[in-house]
């Protein structure tokens, strides 16, 4: 049988913001830009709990979760999110982050399993390219597994 990800015509991404951070302009701009690039974008809005993000990602069966954060809690969120995804048997969903994240935090985030961190000023085309690479990489891995 054909594997799930190779049968996919398009890439499905969840764009979410966690906790009390109310700055959603960036998340909306990215959501819109990804749509224009042909992605299926699920937008869950502001002030989500990590449990809500994981539940939505599972029910929508997305390929990627994109967390946009501007208030400094990105490392804490990444740690908890990776743990909850694992508990839910969904650790194969790739996580990327973006927003006001200091350069020094990029490596710690990647060490936690975050696939990519998009710093302020990252061109949209670059985000699209990386997300496509990540999903393709996941496909190759799951084919090797099968």
């Amino acid at each position: 049988m054909q594997s799930r990800r190779t049968s996919r015509i398009r890439i499905k991404v969840l764009v979410a913001k966690v906790g009390l951070d109310g700055h959603d302009r960036g998340a909306k701009v990215v959501a819109r830009a990804l749509r224009d690039a042909g992605f299926e974008v699920v937008y869950t809005g502001l002030r989500q709990t990590i449990d809500q993000v994981v539940a939505a990602a599972i029910q929508e069966d997305v390929d990627i979760i994109g967390i946009n954060q501007h208030e400094g809690s990105h490392i804490h969120i990444a740690r908890k999110l990776m743990q909850k995804l694992k508990e839910a048997g969904a650790e194969d969903i790739a996580v990327v982050m973006g927003g006001s994240i200091p350069l020094v935090d990029v490596e710690p985030l990647k060490a936690l399993g975050v696939k990519e961190v998009f710093l302020p000023g990252t061109p949209i085309a670059e985000i699209v390219r990386r997300l496509e690479e990540i999903v393709k990489g996941g496909q190759i891995a799951s084919e090797a597994e099968a």
Binding site: R35, V41, Q59, E60
Partner: protein
Amino acid sequence: MSNPLDLIERAKKGDKRALGRLLTLLEEISAENAWVLERLSSESGRAHVIGITGMPGSGKSTLISRLIRAFRDKGYKVAVITIDPTSPISSGSIMGDRVRMQEHATDAGVFIRSVTNRGILGGVSLAALAMIEAFDVMGYDKIIVETVGVGQSETDIMNVADTIVVLTMPGAGDDVQALKAGVFEIGDIYVVNKSDRPDAVRTYEYMLFVAEKEALGRGGSWKPLVIKTSAALGLGIRELAEAIERHLSYVRESGEKERRLLARRAHLMKLVAVRALLGALEEVMREEGESVSKVAKDMRGFYDEAMRIVKLTGKRVS
């Protein structure tokens, strides 16, 4: 990657990850995976399918969020399929209806899934119809399908729901609009949402008129109901939930439910057929491009040319 039978078994035990993946499989029904839907449908037919439609901004998602709560209070498991428009330019889409329902995301008895058409005519309806069968088998009592009330190909699924709820709101048009709008001919229940607004009384009266006029022209003993709600304030929700239950009793007792189930499945088959035909037609049009362009110059014999294309398409799919 897990096989479909394994996904079905796990989903039956309440594993949402497995159900999420199963739904993805059903988004693209093909000759290879048709057996999965066959397997599911052999056990389905029990759930109550509720179609909710209305123009953008009429408050569908907020109302559905309230309804989820009302149904959960009665102990029902609830699934929601939200259908979002796809950009005709990029063929990408933003699925944002979840925003207003996210409070239910972590409820074990609620499952919310968004679908888009992925550029295939009727693709949404096909995916949604297949998903209905899956949710039914997994023990979801109420399956709510939400669509924007525009665009025939995306809303045809409404015609095959067990209960059809049509939303309107104050200021959405006068009585002449109500007369001509096709969507006002299919409702089992009409909802005037945002009825906390002062001009809601007029809209309510128009809708009473619509419902009355319409009851004259249709078969069966069900008389369309009109209900005032304010989804934002949580008003009229209990009345709406009760009306939906009352309609369920009606479709069960009248034999209409069985008829709508068969209509739903016949429609699914039609969509598979349409997809195959359109695919073949596109191919033939491309291959015959030279001949078609020639006729297009002066349109002489255009009808015969079209029929020739039809015959070639017929040969292609047989």
